[in-house]
Amino acid sequence: MSENDQVLDFPLRSDEALEPPAEWADLREKCPVARMRFPTGDEGRLVTRYEDVKRVLSDPRFTRRLDAEDAARLSAEGSVFNSEMSSMVPDSGEGHLRWRRLVGKWFTAKRMSALRPSMEAIANELIDAMIEGGQPSDLKAGLGFPLPVYVICDILGVPAEDRERFSYWSDALLNLTRYSQGENAEAMGAFVEYMSAHITAKRADPGEDLLSELIKETGTDGGLTDQELLGTGIGLLVAGHETTANMIGKMVCMLLADRTRWEALLADPSLVRTAVEESLRFDANSGIGLPRYLPEDGEASGEVIPRGTTVMCSMGAANRDESVFEGAGEMDLTRSPNPHLAFGAGAHSCLGQALARTELQVVLTVLLRRLPTLELAVPSEELERVDGLVVGGLREVPVRW
């Protein structure tokens, strides 16, 4: 039990951007429910084993009520997990199920597959512009970031010209350290104001988009309330920004860091699907994980966790668990099945995962075709992480071809 006496400083750091923190392997083996301290000084527990992370995320006793009185504060400035936005959408039970189905039907695999041609067209245009701009080039700024933003703006029916503002608001919501409390509150206020005005305009003049469709159902029996609609619009816009945007850059870096991976894909593009899943699993910089709050006593790896505890689930650590993934420390582009937890698990697993998967598959397919000679323009050890972000990312992805 000696390990349990230590209190880890969270988030854990790693020496290189693409490498996992040194502590993960030890924690999984010896201290699966570790005491840890958030930057605010508040304490919580960190779970790192695959089975624990999967079970905690699926178990409704581990709630998302991070706004509870005695829940740990992840950031002194407030964060996406206890923001005004997080309480706009029902967080559990029947209410959540109803919301999930109302919104989830717009993100089915078939609907996302139908977006492939337009995603391919966007990817091609962005790559054209990258080529025109010359090399070396930052693939994050040129492709990874704009593509998911254009796609989610298109789905929601919000103008892509406003993307600079969305990017700032999203970053303010998802960054735990960069902004002051005043800046966070101001960003949230501006975002709510923008989305409210946008919803009012859509109500008067509906289009062929998700918000217009959801508006049709507001106020009806079983439809969304106005507050839910607002929270949903903001939530989807934020989620559609930083997550896949960062993942595109990280995926490309992982595949280029050992160029035999890229070459394997060039030789056999049918590996794209499993390569995308393996990139999601192998991502050692996937962010801080997902927090849960325990209003009653709980348990993980046979250890009782007292009520009032905030539990941090590290999907990144779980995805490297050797007891589930053979050769977990190796990237295997053919790995199948690949039950990684990058999108969480259970009733709250990522609503947009079919969208994210489709975007990642399209980007990779188009890149292999258009820029087969792609390579990193800096040694992978020199890539730098973005600090403080809830969903991990790289500052830049310098490439040449």
Partner: protein, 66 residues
Amino acid sequence: MKVTVDEDKCCGAGQCVLIAPEVFDQRDDDGIVVLLDSAPGPDQHALVRESAAVCPAAAIEVTEEA
């Protein structure tokens, strides 16, 4: 092989539809799984097993027959 799905558990992630579209679909009105073929042919077996293994809600059950 026999396949069953649990609609109550399903969270509409759509993994099964992306992997085995001949066996699984999602309802248009709520995104919940629709089983198209409860006794799929041998060419689908690997894909169905993969779908069951990666379902985030563990909503797919596969019974292998001798």
